[in-house]
Symmetry: C2
Subunit: 416 residues, 2 copies
């Protein structure tokens, strides 16, 4: 049952960011022994009355029971609590899976004093194993009692699976001159190819914003952040990105906002996007077994969606990813990946750069291409590939990592 202990990512941060408290939310975590031994695997957040929620959830046709539960809750968009377990995804667990989610939400509702429908649930880990909620439901009361505002790191650690470091980010911003905090954390290292949000990501702010405004903002910015990041092209059954706004800033004078288009939201929106991007990049930088972090920029495309699809075709190509691992400037594989994307591209206007080095221009090898120079560039830890596809002016950026022996080792014995 033991999984391969992954080596820490070479991009693991030397120091984790310190996240200040966000008024209106408290956290706790504990070891429930759901699957792992000797580490926390259950975490909760308690949210003040009046908290609004937004979410972007996996589009998988085989999504997990907690995803279905959250989707139903998001119709009213009110939230009082969050319960997350790691070690078991409660996915493909049939009616028993729905039952486990309901038991969890009910127990948490009782502990907090709210409706089960105001409790959001997320699970991550192995697919297809029944999750016994009775093994941890009795712990929720104690966790609610113990919850404290400054436990972001401990919350982020409790939701990890094959992650080699917790992913945390914080931003300070303002709405109409009133200071606002946004904190977030997420997990994910494999089965990462967001087709919506990705993996588990929880963001908390003290802003006072109605659910529909939050939902508009979150959906808009997940699109260019988490949905532009991939590790292995394998979309998870459990992907969940939730954004909670406690509304505490209203007490400090934040005026009411009714639409995501209001200019008062400009700074908040920019900070939120920046935080989501930061977290998405942290996930790519902890990709299972990675040795290199890769940024792929596509320009000259027909539209943004097309640029994104071309970028993802490159980012998901096993051949290109293995070449990057091998420090081989094999730009022919970029050509192949662009070609297979099915998106509009003009072969004879295609130009490609590896870092600052132009390797292809207008459909053939660049005149100044010197393989040894580009091979030297490939030895770096961070690789940037840019392609201009010559049919328009739209751009997109996609983040990924290389495909390594360690990825195979980790995933050849994750389960048994």
């Amino acid at each position: 049952m033991a999984k391969t202990a992954a080596k820490p990512s070479p991009f693991a941060p030397a120091r984790l960011p310190a996240l200040p408290a966000v008024a209106g939310v408290r956290f706790a975590a504990c070891e429930a022994g759901i699957r792992y031994q000797g580490r926390t695997d259950l975490m909760i957040a308690v949210l003040e009355p009046g908290t609004a929620a937004a979410g972007v959830l996996t589009r998988s046709k085989t999504c997990s029971a907690p995803v279905l539960w959250c989707r139903a809750n998001l119709e009213h968009g009110r939230a009082r609590a969050l319960v997350v377990n790691s070690g078991n995804a409660n996915a493909f667990t049939g009616k028993k899976g729905n039952e486990a989610t309901r038991i969890t939400a009910e127990a948490m509702g009782q502990a907090v004093g709210c409706s089960a429908r105001e409790v959001y649930v997320a699970s991550t880990g192995v697919i297809g194993e029944p999750l016994d909620a009775h093994r941890f439901a009795h712990l929720l009361g104690g966790l609610v009692q113990a919850a404290a505002a400054d436990r972001f790191e401990s919350a982020a650690r409790a939701i990890m699976t094959t992650d080699t470091y917790p992913k945390l980010a914080t931003r300070s911003t303002e709405i109409a001159g009133v200071p606002i905090s946004i904190n977030g954390f997420c997990k994910g290292a494999g089965m990462i190819a967001p087709d919506m949000a990705t993996m588990l990501c929880f963001v908390f702010t003290d802003a006072a914003l109605p659910p529909q405004v939050l939902q508009d903002l979150l959906a808009r910015h997940v699109r260019t952040t988490f949905n532009c990041m991939t590790i292995d092209g394998d979309t998870s059954t459990s992907d969940t990105c939730l954004l909670f706004a406690t509304g505490a800033a209203a007490k400090r004078g934040q005026p009411t906002v009714v639409s995501a288009q209001e200019s008062a939201l400009a700074a908040f929106e920019a900070a939120l996007r920046d935080l989501l991007r930061d977290l998405a990049i942290q996930v790519a930088r902890d990709g299972e077994g990675l040795s290199k972090f890769v940024t792929i920029e596509i320009g000259g495309a027909e539209n943004w969606e097309s640029a994104r699809r071309i970028g993802l075709a490159c980012a998901n190509s096993p051949l290109l990813k293995a070449a990057i691992f091998g420090e081989d400037p094999n730009w022919g594989r970029v050509v192949m990946a662009i070609g297979k994307s099915g998106e509009a591209a003009d072969r004879d206007k295609l130009s490609i750069w590896f870092g600052p080095h132009e390797v292809a221009r207008n459909g053939q090898r660049a005149p100044d291409y010197v393989e040894a120079t580009v091979a030297e560039y490939m030895k770096g830890r961070e690789i940037r590939i840019r392609a201009e596809v010559g049919v328009g002016s739209a751009e997109a950026t996609v983040w990924t990592c290389d495909l390594t022996h360690d990825y195979i080792s980790i995933n050849a014995d994750y389960r048994s």
Copy 2:
């Protein structure tokens, strides 16, 4: 420049099939030193006047110069010769690439005494390196002189790149009682995710069939054979499947056929499909670095195309392929892959088998599932996964292989 010497596939046939001559076609091959040393890398076929041609070519937007050349030739569908080189794909080589193809076809046209437009050209190997046709064009005359009918194996060997064995197949059939032969060979081991035909495949028959009939038959059966096979999801820029009919059987009394629907073609069509399927499976069984050959059967789908897409989503999932390599019966990854395909599937009616063992039934773990039994099954060389997705009655079968350390090693230093 040396590539990693791949270990022979565990599925390399102990004995290659002996291919009898097909009246109207002769082969020759030689070492032209295009890229590799000490092996043949140039092969030709000379076809009798009156030969009809059909082809299915890559849909890549960055397809190679030879693909464009063949596509133009297929408009008239007449053929007198074929020239194939390995070591250089002549893809992404701009105007010089078109020029290299034209020089090759013209030199071959002169050697055979036909129009350059009756010469089909295919190239396979590295992308983006200029191909100097002058290095081998002068060899074509000698090859035409030396060509002989019984050289299928030597022709098949000359087109290999990372293949560990040549892929050959032969079938005997009849049209209206007249005996007909069909022989074919192909190459391919990586960059294999056919979005049409795949890699290079050449099929020769002595049947007398007009180009449009050949084209109908080939397109129909590439769909369920090569287009249902994948190694790494990376569609090549060079994929070319050509079918040549020399018409020699007309002299032995084969009546004229004008439509692919004629009942006289039933046996020929079945034999052709069987041969294409045989070759497609041989490619999957030589997938780069593979340790296991994998058959994925999808049933209960909305329609055949949907079943095929679900099968390919499984067959291209790095997580599932790594689990198979690790002999881990991780059927949760089958659930994930079905979910991410975007195709209709009913989570709560989904059932999955690994070989004879039911692992999931109606959306949850099968009641009789015993992990140790299924883990034992996973130790076999040939793995069969079946999923019923519960929304219709359409079926499709897809062939692939596992994702191994050797795949990474081969592709981390293919080029430099």
